[in-house]
């Protein structure tokens, strides 16, 4: 298994480098640069733009810029973000935890809800409850993430005033809250964006889980369990579900890119100051160093998630270990 994981790790590193390199060249070949984007007024003296372009090496040939960027990346230096006027590492350090928090909660919610829904559907196969839940999950599965986010925002924040509109905390009261009040305030702001992401993923997981459960439910060992007198609840929870969870593990790896992609829109709608929103803003301001860093981090997260899924699969499935 160690060889398998090592091979996956090398593949992952290669993919990250390829993605980062492609991103670097695509971004630099596109029109515009961070200086023109930030100092966009015709009234800005040209000498100021020239000064900053020289300072950040944007007047150098692309090959020189690429070489320097590679060296910097190898040293863990992501460069300087001109629009933010801060080192990229500092900008990311303030955004990445927010996205990880959002994704982590969304991932947890989506798997718990998805597996539970799949189980309910499988147990009630062909009945109205199965049909209803199937229709509901299909509804959310086919819904654009930004639209769902806007609808939840409209209903729960604007019409019913149940949850806050945007942000990670109440900008007015937060500084004066105690520790637990702050935790509560953050969780309160987390509900809508996390539920948006979770609803979309849970719908897919539920459909997948249902199919997996029904596959397993027809196996001989399930019949044996029933013949031995195991209760129906015990059959489903201890025999069917445990075996049907195996393929769902692969979904973990697949859910990460979906959540990461979805977080771009969800963070924008809810003004959640995470990596998705940061990336959208960086595209607008042609913030090369920040965009490259964001893409590298996203690649690491996606490939890392896939790697973890592979490892988990190998742990729980002896056949993979043998291979």
């Amino acid at each position: 298994m160690a060889r398998l994981l090592l091979r996956r790790a090398i593949h992952g590193a290669l993919i990250i480098w390829l993605v980062a390199t492609a991103t670097f060249f695509l971004l630099h070949l596109a029109p515009g640069d961070p200086i023109a984007a930030s100092l966009d007024s015709p009234l800005t003296p040209p000498v100021v733009r020239t000064h900053y372009r020289h300072e950040y090496g944007l007047d150098q040939p692309l090959s020189v810029q690429y070489g320097r960027w590679l060296v910097m990346m190898a040293h863990g230096d992501f460069g300087f973000s001109f629009p933010h006027r801060r080192p990229v590492s500092s900008v990311i350090a303030s955004a990445l935890p927010n996205t990880l928090l959002l994704m982590g909660v969304a991932l947890l919610l989506s798997f718990v809800a998805g597996i539970a829904l799949g189980l309910i559907q499988a147990r009630h196969r062909g009945r109205p409850l199965d049909w209803g839940l199937g229709l509901g999950s299909l509804f959310f599965y086919s819904m654009p993430d930004f639209w769902l986010a806007l609808m939840l925002l409209f209903l729960f924040a604007f019409v019913w005033h149940v949850f806050p509109v945007t942000g990670m905390f109440d900008p007015v009261m937060y500084p004066y809250y105690g520790f637990w009040q702050r935790v509560g305030d953050r969780l309160w702001h987390l509900v809508l964006p996390a539920c948006t992401l979770a609803l979309l993923s849970a719908a897919a997981i539920a459909r997948f889980q249902r199919a997996a459960l029904l596959d397993v439910a027809g196996e001989d060992f399930v019949l044996t369990a029933r013949a031995k007198g195991v209760s129906e609840r015990g059959v489903w929870l201890h025999h069917v579900l445990r075996n049907a969870l195996l393929p769902v593990i692969t979904l973990f790896g697949l859910a990460l890119p979906v959540l990461l992609g979805g977080s771009v829109f969800v963070e924008k709608v809810f003004s959640w100051p995470g990596m998705g929103l940061l990336t959208v803003e960086a595209i607008g301001t042609r913030d090369y160093p920040l965009l490259c860093a964001a893409v590298v981090i996203a690649s690491v997260l996606v490939i890392g998630g896939s790697f973890v899924a592979d490892a988990l699969y190998a742990v729980v499935d002896p056949r993979v270990r043998l291979e």
Binding site: G32, D40, H84, F154, V165, T166, L277, G284
Partner: protein
């Protein structure tokens, strides 16, 4: 010069189809409740300002975005501030800010500002004349790379005969001396910044935690989320009435509108025209129209986009530009795009400026005249309805940023009007970065531009002067060159009598209209939305927040977020 980004144009989305909105605005803006209160119940409260972007660096010489500009404007001070007319000549109507008085030298080559001895930095250190001297040096230092530095070129130095007198020495006598000395720079604390390398200013701790002398002092900045200021109780010109100001960042415009209408936010600087009826009917919100310094125009590139050393085959012809201008019904364009919330632009200036010329001779909207002119130039209508000459069709592209619905819509209207006179104008939309770069590289045929005037009429040369045309990436992207225009503006700039200056500026504006380097299109009226408990909300065109220290929230109208105890804010 004031440089603001043009994000408000990005925010404008769709045309107004409703009937005139001005009566609605007038009714809403004048609702009862803006009555005077006793001074005692005016101090306190919190105002949440919804903004779409975070600040970049809170150091005035290098500040480029609007949120930073607003925060800096309340944390720091200028030496003096112009009156509501924004007249840049002399010191008529100006009020002292950090300076309480000033004296002109006999030869007018010096101005001695007396710094208010009661002024203190927010860390308690008195403001000194040496701070003024240090500020000028910092702004002019090439390592600082301040976009204001070129505007200070005529200031030679500052001397400090005593601790409260800063004498500005000028290289020459000119009408804008006072404006440059008193208003171009926000004064910075020498005792904090003296040890900072100007090249590192943007990443210095000061840029994240500024110390100024203005009515509000910095409290906290949560990157990409919020910035908080608190009224400085020891402010030398009297404590501001609203205790806390919080800039709350929500990049999604619609989220800001929802926050305002639901009461989470108190102020939104700009409401999209289509949203005005909806926001105006919210029971807790009032709409406040205020003057704008923005205008839009279609710019002709007078140089070949593929080889800027050559003249443009079409637009180097003045008569052709005039004909195209006469083909456009600018009133209809303005009405279609802004309904009653916009006015036709007369030139590269707006109604709010002291040098606005409503008498300028405009080229009339006259499609027949346009057709005759085009015929006379040899552009004749072909079978397809498009004019051509020597086998070349009269066809060009209009570059428009996709992010600006207003400009996209304008382009479509222009396209139809050009087509009426046999001209094919293709709308070429591109993302804003591409538009900026092509603008800078002069790689366009025409482009629909939106500009924010800085209030100083002399800056017209930065967009239309010969030097700006010849500079590699100068502000004159259309490469309009007319030495007589430059001479008129130079003469106007040299006038000490405002009437004479105005006369020269008006002649220069007339020449711009005659030469038609652009088609002047529209200037939008800006409408802000604010919670009704905030009074009296008077805003200026140059800085909407200029009078914010006089705004207040009466004690009987305060809500939960206004009740934060003063002691907590003063922590």
């Amino acid at each position: 010069m004031r440089h603001l980004p043009f994000s408000r144009f990005v925010l404008m989305r769709t045309p107004l189809v409703a009937s005139s909105l001005l009566p609605l605005l007038a009714a809403i803006a004048c609702q009862p409740g803006d009555h005077a209160r006793t001074a005692g119940d005016q101090y306190g409260g919190t105002m949440v300002i919804a903004v779409s972007g975070d600040a970049d660096a809170l150091v005035p010489p290098i500040t480029v975005n609007s949120t930073s500009f607003e925060v800096d404007g309340l944390v720091f001070e200028n030496l003096a501030r112009p009156g509501a007319t924004l007249d840049p000549i002399g010191d008529q109507g100006w009020t002292g800010e950090l300076a309480d008085s000033w004296t002109w030298g006999k030869d007018s080559l010096t101005i001695a500002f007396h710094v208010d001895t009661t002024a203190r930095w927010h860390d308690g250190i008195p403001v000194r004349a040496s701070d003024v001297k240090f500020t000028l040096q910092l702004y002019k230092n090439p390592k600082t790379a301040s976009f204001v530095a070129p505007l200070l070129a005529n200031i030679d130095s500052v001397s400090t005969p005593d601790s409260s007198t800063a004498v500005f020495w000028f290289k020459k006598r000119y009408p804008g001396q006072f404006y440059d000395a008193a208003y171009q720079m926000r004064i910075l604390p020498r005792h904090v910044l003296a040890g900072t390398d100007p090249a590192q200013l943007q990443s210095s701790p000061f840029s994240r935690h500024p110390i100024g002398s203005g009515p509000y002092r910095f409290v906290s900045w949560m990157p990409r989320q919020s910035i908080e200021l608190a009224a400085d109780s020891s402010y030398h010109r009297g404590r501001a009435r609203i205790q806390r100001l919080i800039w709350s960042v929500a990049p999604e415009y619609n989220a800001s509108v929802v926050r305002l209408m639901s009461g989470d936010a108190d102020f939104l600087e700009f409401v999209n025209p289509p949203d005005i009826p909806r926001v105006g009917h919210a029971p807790n919100v009032k709409l406040v129209p205020y003057p704008s310094m923005a205008y839009g125009y279609l710019l002709f590139n007078e140089r070949d986009p593929n080889d800027p050393s050559k003249p443009n085959a079409l637009f180097s012809d003045r008569t052709l530009r005039r004909a195209l201008t006469m083909a456009i019904d600018r009133r209809r364009v303005t009405r279609s795009v802004f309904d009653s919330l916009g006015a036709v632009a007369y030139g590269p200036y707006t109604h709010t400026l002291p040098y606005f010329d409503s008498t300028v001779a405009e080229l009339p909207f006259s499609p027949d005249s346009a057709r005759r002119l085009l015929d006379s130039l040899g552009w004749h209508v072909g079978a397809d309805g498009i004019r051509s000459k020597n086998g070349r069709a009269l066809r060009f592209s209009m570059l428009v940023p996709t992010s600006s619905a207003v400009r996209m819509q304008t382009a479509v209207l222009l396209q139809a009007m050009f087509h009426d006179v046999g001209v094919q104008a293709d709308v070429e939309s591109a993302d804003i970065g591409t538009v900026r770069q092509r603008n800078e590289g002069r790689q366009f045929e025409t482009v629909i531009e939106a500009m924010q005037s800085d209030g100083n009429p002399s800056s017209i040369l930065q967009s239309w002067g010969i030097d700006a045309a010849k500079a590699k990436d100068g502000g004159n992207a259309g490469s309009y060159e007319n030495p007589r225009f430059d001479a008129l503006v130079d003469t106007a700039v040299a006038q000490f009598d405002p009437k004479r200056a105005r006369a020269y500026y008006f002649r220069a504006y007339g020449m711009l209209n005659e030469d038609a380097p652009a088609i002047w299109l529209w200037e939008p009226l800006t409408v802000a939305a604010v919670q009704k408990r905030i009074h009296p909300v008077d805003m200026r065109a140059d800085e909407w927040f200029a009078n914010i220290s006089q705004w207040y929230i009466p004690s009987d109208e305060r809500i939960a977020r206004d009740q934060i105890r003063l002691a907590e804010v003063q922590r």
